[in-house]
Structure formats: structure tokens, C-alpha cells
Amino acid sequence: MERVIVCVKPVPDPKVWDRLRMDPVTKTLIREGIPSVINPLDRHALEAALAIKDVSGAEVVLLSMAPRDARPVLREALAMGADRAVLLSDKAFAGSDTLATALILTEAIRRIGPFDLICCGNYTLDGSTAQVPSQIAEFLGIPNIMHVAHMELEQDKRMVVTQKIEQGYVKLAAEPPLLLSFTKKANKPRFLSFLEILAAEKREISTWTNTDLNLDESRIGLGGSPTKMADMLLREKGRQGLRLEGSPEEIAHQLANKIRQLGFI
């Protein structure tokens, strides 16, 4: 393979989420003072790309749409072994929903040039929509597979991809060009020494704005997004302390519903 593109997203460090506050007027979250980290599943996407680089010498390109202060996060990903990084940063991109975000990332991928594979994390910790990868693949007109638990390279760039589903696994035969969304089962991201992180301090990051992408502003940002946020409410922390009573059947039924509602079945 010749080129693998890895989409990475800096997300607020989940360890300090309880410090998140909402601006009561603008209904936006105040991110100030909340450090960013690389979205955890994006490390697995990067590891998959680096494993391909190890066997085929493919160029690994990082792509991220984020504010400019996210550069340290990209440098850490560069330190893991990526060849170069492209940061998309422009006020015109702000407020983009998944469709508009996918459009921006797609245009940047076209500008990066031909590729064999695009690797993404299966979801991000902040928005958690998990929608952008499928939408990039659709805009590029290439197939995609989510929930990747294993990837095996065969001859002639062919791959066998294992997809985790509720009922077990699906094994799929796939060929580039392709987009894959990785789960943490897929691999173990490589360990970084402090010296390697330091060495990446000076690495260049290309920053592209919409002047480079030249997208119609009516299709991107807050205004170009089909979905609009009408309201946002902060949920109370602390335990709910709800009591569940009734017959064992009734209790089991309600508890099963709750478990499904939390997304575990």
C-alpha cells in the first residue's frame, strides 16, 4: 500500500469532564482549561495504519479538523510514527455537524491525493455520533466498515476484516480503496517514550483553511449544517437513587429496559 490516511480528533480529556460548564446564554460548553487528548480509539486507527506502514512502507498521513491549539495532540500522533499531519482550521468550519464535517474532511482527503485506506476511530468520546466516517466514505464513493475488531492483510492488498456485531462477528473480504473504523479490540497502540514525544516537538504540521479547500460556505459550518441545536441542558450529577419495586417479573422487565437504554444489549 502506498498511502494510509488516519483521521484523528482531539477531545477534552475525559478525566476532567466533571469540570465542564455550560455558557447559559450561548448554550455552548466552556472548554477553557480543559486539556485535550487524542481521541482514544483514534490511537487504534493510527496503530492499524502504522502496522501497514511497517510491512509495506506506506506513507501515513494524519488528518484532523480542530482549533490550532490542538497541534500538540497531532505531534503526539506524529511521534507514534506518522509521516505528516494536516490540520484543518478555519472559523468557517466551526459549528459543522457530521454531514458538514464529513464534507470538509472529504475535500481535504481529495487534496491529499490518492490513498489505499482511511483509518478512523469507531467513535469519538465527545460527540460520540460515530457518523462522520461512514459519511466521508459515502462522499468519496468508497466502501466502509465500522466496528473493526481485526484486520488481516492478504496478498495484492486484499484484506479480511472482522466486524464486531451484537450477536458475534462478521468476517468480510475487502479491497482498497476502503475506509475502516476501529474498535479497541483491533490492536494495542504502540508505546511512546518521553524522548520520542520530545523529538516530535519540532515536527511541521500543515495547516489548511477554507482558502485551501475552497468549499462553498453555504455547505459548511453552523449555517451549512442540516441539523441545528435548539437547546442544551446540563444533566445533574450524583446518584439518582430510584427505587424499583414490584414482582420479580416486573423488576426484571424494567431492569432489562434500563440496561438496553444504557446501550449494553
Binding site: 460548553l29 473480504a173 423488576i251 434500563k258
Partner: protein, 331 residues
Amino acid sequence: MGEPQIWVFIEQRRNVVHDVGLELLGKARELANTGGARVAALLLGDGVLPLADTLISFGADIVLVADHPALEPYRLLPYTQVLAEACRTRQPDIMLFGATSLGVELAPRLAARLKTGLSAHCIDLQLDADGHLLQMVPGWGGGVVATIKTPEHRPQMATVMPGVMQKPQPAPRSGQVIPLTPSEDLDLSGPRVLEVHREEPQELPLETAEVVVAGGFGVGSPEGWKLLEELARLLGGAVGATRPPVDEGWASEEQMIGQSGKTVRPRLYIGVGISGMSHHVVGMDEAEFVVAINTDPKAAIFEVADLAIVGDQREIIPLLLDELRGRVKVS
């Protein structure tokens, strides 16, 4: 086209309907009754036609059926194509998907093809005064809830977490079954399915498990302990313990949670027969959602629980396992 239509994608694998599709039919029925719309169920697969009557009994006015050998097993590209063609021809107002592994892959791809908005993992849906779909989505690990609208683009699309909406009671109703004929040039170029392997989820290390089922002395016996293991396996989680089950030999030392054991931060913790002494609680109070089951209504564990269940786990857990495995099957 007449009245606006609310569409529900019906997920089926091997002709077994996923409950979430039926739950969404219930919600769609409720929205349709307030907004004067019709509910259509979208059913894709091979030999799925016999399922149509079930979908009508759960609230569909119309069942749009694409019955074609290439639509079993599920593949992303042909499914996207069939749904996109149906949407372009029939112009639904709203389209709902279950937020399952299949739904979260298919819905965004379809939304991008139709260039419309899609919200993810909704926990509630309502209609506003103008008939727009209000989509409530959780964010930041559930710390906030945003209300999303798709004011101009159609269909208004949303995925909904399984179990959020109440599955309606099936009732004798009449409805219309309309076949969808997939186009001749069905896109079969994407990944090919080599094998669908069904298996029970494996056990995970306690510290990284998203679900922890923990047991205390109240579990009572090795047989009781097996039920916890079964529940954890079903939920893709791990089994933890307080000190007494380790001393009794039901659990291993490595499974102990608390001051002298491990600290867990699962998204879901289910404590069974645990009194809730603080040396256990310090090891689990970072859990996102805590369920406690105990026969003693005064058990301290209830103080740190989101959901407190006073009852006998020997009765509740077997019933819970049945509930969690419950699916509607084609006869």
C-alpha cells in the same frame, strides 16, 4: 403523496427482527397520531415477507418490503441503495433507525447520500408545534442533553438507543404491504461477507470492562455465582466480588473490588447481594451508572445506587437473563 410518512427501519438478521425496530414503531405510531402522519416499516432481506404482518400488528400502516437474495445477509452498500431509492421516490418526512451496530453504520451513509441531517443515539423524540422532529441526544458521557432539529432537510433522520422506547403491545390491525423492487444495478461492489460467526461475548479484564457485575455474600452459593457470570457474559462485561465470595471460593482474589482490591470505572455496575461497606464502595463509586440488588431494604449499597432494587436476586436474575435474550422470531 398524501399524508406525511414516518419511516422506521426494521433491522433483521436471519429473519429475526431486532426489538428496537418494534420499539420505534411504537414511538412512530405515537408521533403519527399527534401529527396526522402514517407509519411505514422498511423491511429488507431475503424471505422476509412473512414478517410484514407482525410489523403491522406493532403499529405500521404500511410495510415497504425489499425481498431479494442479495439483501441477506446485510451489506452496507446495497442496503443504502435500496433505502435511498425508496426515499427519493416516496419522500418520507421522518426516518428512524435503531442505534445498533448495523443502524449506526447504515443511517449516516444514507443521510450523506440524501444530503440530510441525522442525529445520533437519541433518548427521546417529540414533535414541536411546527411538526419538526425534536431529537434529544446525550453528550459528554451523558453529562448533557442537546435538542436537535433538522428544520429544512428531509427526511429528518435519527438513530435511537435500543430499550429507550417502550415496545408496544401487538394488536390486530390492518395495513398495506408494498413491495420495493431493488434496481437491476444493485451495488454489490463493496466488502463480501465471508462468514457470520455467532458467539457469546468473552469475559474481559475487570478494570477495562464497561459492565461490571459484582457479587457479595448475599449471592449465597456457587450456583448463584454462576448466574452473575452468565449475566456478565451476556452484557459483555466482567464479574467482580467483595471479600466474602473470595473467602468462600466462589470468586478469585483477582476479582476483588475495593480498598484491598481493584478500582473499577465501568459505565454500568450491577451490585448483587452486596451490603455496601465503604471498603468496597471506594473501588466502584466512579462507575457511571450503579444498579444494586439486595433483599435488605436498608442496605448501605442503596445510598450509592442510581437504581435500587429490593428483591431476591435468585428470582430476579434468571428472569432478567430471559428478558435480555428476548427477541421476536418468525414462526
